[in-house]
């Protein structure tokens, strides 16, 4: 048992639909609708920032395929992919997860917001606040470090004293 319920799920392979080196898909133990999937990094990470870029990439690739699977396997007409980053965004567990949620007619989810029309000045203001930070910090991605390659030790050549290769070496010029 660890402190994190989801680390336990991963370790015990409970509700596990898929796993690879970096990520797993679980059938959510706290679903919002039947068929609610969770894509989680195997490594324990409480916030998105602490998940390495290449693991995030793997999670989104998997979420994409998982949504395809939900369309086909469950015959649904809509799928939402949602990452709740921070308590204010509804994150309830201290293990980062990406929800892949099949949508049904008459389900009780809204997953919607009211768009507010904005004026160009407002947008300009936000743009100027964000430009520098984004230029500085977005675009360089952490790739997975290549695994050390095990080099096989060269086999010693056993040669008998009569081997012509050795005989030649012993010959005094």
């Amino acid at each position: 048992m660890s402190d994190c319920d989801f680390c336990d799920f991963i370790k015990n392979k409970s509700n596990l639909l898929f796993e690879n080196e970096h990520s797993v898909i679980l059938l959510s133990p706290e679903p919002s609708v039947p068929g609610h999937l969770l894509v989680l990094p195997k490594v324990h990470a409480p916030i998105l920032e602490s998940v390495p870029d290449f693991v995030v990439a793997d999670m989104f690739k998997i979420a994409n395929k998982a949504s395809m699977m939900l369309f086909e396997s469950l015959g649904v007409k809509g799928v939402n992919v949602l990452l709740q980053n921070g308590a204010a965004a509804g994150q309830r567990n201290n293990h980062v997860m990406l929800s892949v949620v099949p949508r049904f007619d008459g389900d009780n989810l809204s997953l919607i917001w009211t768009p507010k029309p904005s004026n160009p000045e407002e947008l300009k203001g936000v743009e100027s606040k964000l430009t520098d930070e984004i230029k500085k910090t977005v675009g360089l991605f952490e790739r997975e470090k290549p695994k050390p390659i095990e080099i096989e030790k060269p086999k010693e050549v056993k040669a008998s004293p009569t081997d012509y290769r050795i005989k030649q070496l012993r010959r005094v010029p």
Partner: protein, 203 residues
Amino acid sequence: MADEQEQCVFCNIIAGKIPASKLYEDDKVIAVLDINPGASGHLLLIPKKHTSIMPQLDEDISSHMGMVAKQLSRALIRALNIEGTSIFVANGALAGQRAPHVLMHIIPRAKGDNIDLDLPAIKLDEKTFEAVFAKLVPGVKKHFNFDIKLPEKTEVKAPVKKSEDKPKESEAKPESKKSENKPDSKKPAAKKSLDEISEFLLK
């Protein structure tokens, strides 16, 4: 450009024909400020290749979008001093998709804002849970080429917390639909549609 692309607002934004506050661009994606934001700083991350729905995206683009979204989210948190972000994609009209071009929303969040991106937990009976799991097994094989060991009873943790008082044997025995239709005293409305969903899934 094909017709669909010519008419696509987002393809036109990418091509620079429609002005937008572009904040990030690389060979695969651009990010712009949503002109009708849910919150100030709401970003749209858009794949350059016209793709109408996320499952049609190439793998390298969906994974790239994830990495960019992570970094954009971090930049929003730092630059706008916000409490969190929601990263959200809608696939299909039923899921709230309005434009025929894949969009990933990155929305700044604050406690008590009016953005409803909550995922409330429902009660799901063990039978439905296991039926859904079984339904997904062939899909996992097809899309991930992964063999799941079919869950034994002990492996699947159904989310239902059983009530303290055990049902009498006479009640527990018949595994008919009746047990599913038992009205949930807490959320009668939610339970009703959940039954419909379960029925749809189990048929």
